[in-house]
């Protein structure tokens, strides 16, 4: 068998290795937990983006660049809802990753997942296995596109980039948003969250202080009131002194709409409580004793809890 330098497999192999070599310049190892380090991406010189759940301390973080130099870093902010954390290096070093900002991930597209769980950058090959629209994580974070990868997950993989065949970053890999499958957080989400974390140190989220449970509405009431949905959210707890409490919401009320949009799942309400609503008065529509009524709630800000993965 002759070896031709222009064989398709050989040139594919060369392209993949070149993509890894190029993207590697912007991959780092982060020592912020016990045992193996996690991975991170140089977002711009001096700024690292990584997976929140791998950062187990806020200070005394050591970052190893792909050329072996080590730099101290501190946590600039973290958003547990999207599993994104941002670190600031003690010096403005590093090569910013090139980003594939022009296109959404497509099913079947070749991806390389890079990581640096030690002294060297490592690579895994796969394809984009599923894509979908915007979704919400378990913790209520908004992710702009659903992108699941058919790539093996190795220790230390979280926080590293998935890159295309040209070595451009498609997203931030994490095993923290879905069980047993590799997800990549798309660039748009990373960009949005990073900007908020760098400017405010956190992602601001609205808060009304209600515990809610989906309940099936009485068929007669749905018909009589011409309600768009058959399920509402029953108030099962109210935070003392919180916005909903101040607005006069009672236990047993059933919330059917928030700011004009019907709600039948707590995640819909969580989604509507984005940071820009903080301080504004929103109309909440509910059923009390089977009769509809409206209340005005001034959205507060969700206080940060100490949340560690």
């Amino acid at each position: 068998m002759s070896t031709t330098p222009d064989s398709v497999l050989q040139s594919l192999s060369d392209d993949l290795a070149a993509a890894v070599a190029k993207a590697s310049l912007s991959v780092v190892a982060i020592h912020a937990r016990r045992r193996i380090p996690s991975s991170g991406i140089i977002w711009r010189p001096g700024v690292i983006v990584t997976a929140h759940h791998t950062i187990q301390r806020d200070e005394n973080i050591i970052v190893t660049l792909s050329d072996g130099t080590t730099v101290g870093a501190t946590l600039a902010g973290r958003d547990p809802t999207t599993d994104i954390a941002v670190l600031r290096l003690n010096s403005e070093v590093g090569v910013a990753a090139e980003r594939a900002t022009d296109a959404d991930a497509k099913v079947g597209q070749i991806v390389l997942a890079l990581g640096m769980p030690g002294s060297a950058v490592t690579a895994a090959l796969g394809v984009v296995s599923a894509t979908g629209g915007e979704w919400r994580s378990w913790h209520g974070g908004r992710i702009d596109q659903f992108v699941r990868l058919d790539v093996s997950i190795y220790d230390g993989f979280s926080g590293g980039p998935s890159v295309d065949a040209r070595g451009r970053v498609l997203g931030l890999n994490t095993s923290g948003l879905a069980r047993a499958s590799a997800m990549t957080i798309p660039l748009r989400t990373v960009e949005r969250v990073v900007e908020q974390l760098l400017s405010a140190g956190r992602v601001r989220r609205g808060f009304i202080g209600l515990g809610l449970q989906p309940v099936r509405l009485q068929a007669g009431v749905v018909k009589e009131q011409g309600l768009p949905r058959e399920v509402g959210l029953m108030v099962v707890s109210i935070e003392e002194g919180g916005p909903a409490h101040a607005a006069g919401v009672s236990l047993g009320d059933v919330v059917i709409a928030f700011d004009g949009a019907p709600v039948s799942d707590p995640s819909e309400l969580l989604g509507a409580l984005s940071g820009e609503r903080i301080g504004s008065a929103v109309v909440i529509r509910l059923l009390r004793g089977g009769s509809p009524m409206e209340l005005h709630i001034t959205v507060g800000e969700r206080q940060r809890r100490k949340e560690h993965a």
Binding site: S7, V8, L9, L16, V20, A124, S152
Partner: protein, 219 residues
Amino acid sequence: MTVTPIDGSTLAAGSALAAGSALAADIELERLAAFVRSYTVEVLSRGRSSAGSGVIWHADGLIVTNAHVVRDARPQVALGNKEVVEARIVAIDKRFDLALLSVRGDGLHAAPIGDAESLRAGSLVLALGHPLGVHNALSLGVVHTVTTERGLPRYIAADVRLAPGNSGGPLVDTSGRVVGINAMIVGGLGVAIPSTVVRRFLRQVSASGAVNLSVPLAA
């Protein structure tokens, strides 16, 4: 470029590429798999259904496999044509986890040996073997990382799916050259002993006088 299937026929240069590079890659993969099969053998131990794989290193009948695959004083080797022959153990080195077997067989094809030092993270590699009793299973992936010891490759970690029975089989580059001997699975990664280490092992065997060949084992 020309795409030459293993049966010797020649596809028109443009036909595969016109249909897309994915098809061209597919045809090459098929050809490559057939080529790697021609020098990959199965190493059997008595009383066991699955044992391991091996690589025909020399057409005189020398086969390289893992030491841990050879559990028998008189192992047997199933050649590509399903012929099962008795093998003699020439040398075993548990430290390298390598073994050299010798068989008598006609028309054996020796594997071309590649250079593990040329591998980079992201380079495409293939593994062939007989995992869990499945014959000639092919697995495709990329080099995860090559760990070195005193500047020399010590292990190749590759993102290829392996299972027991792959042990002793070849890890090859896109030209079908053997760059490593698959030896273990660590954290889901395939780990292979680089061809450079196999050569070192063979030099030691050769120096000990265990084999006497007209052709040097390892240059």
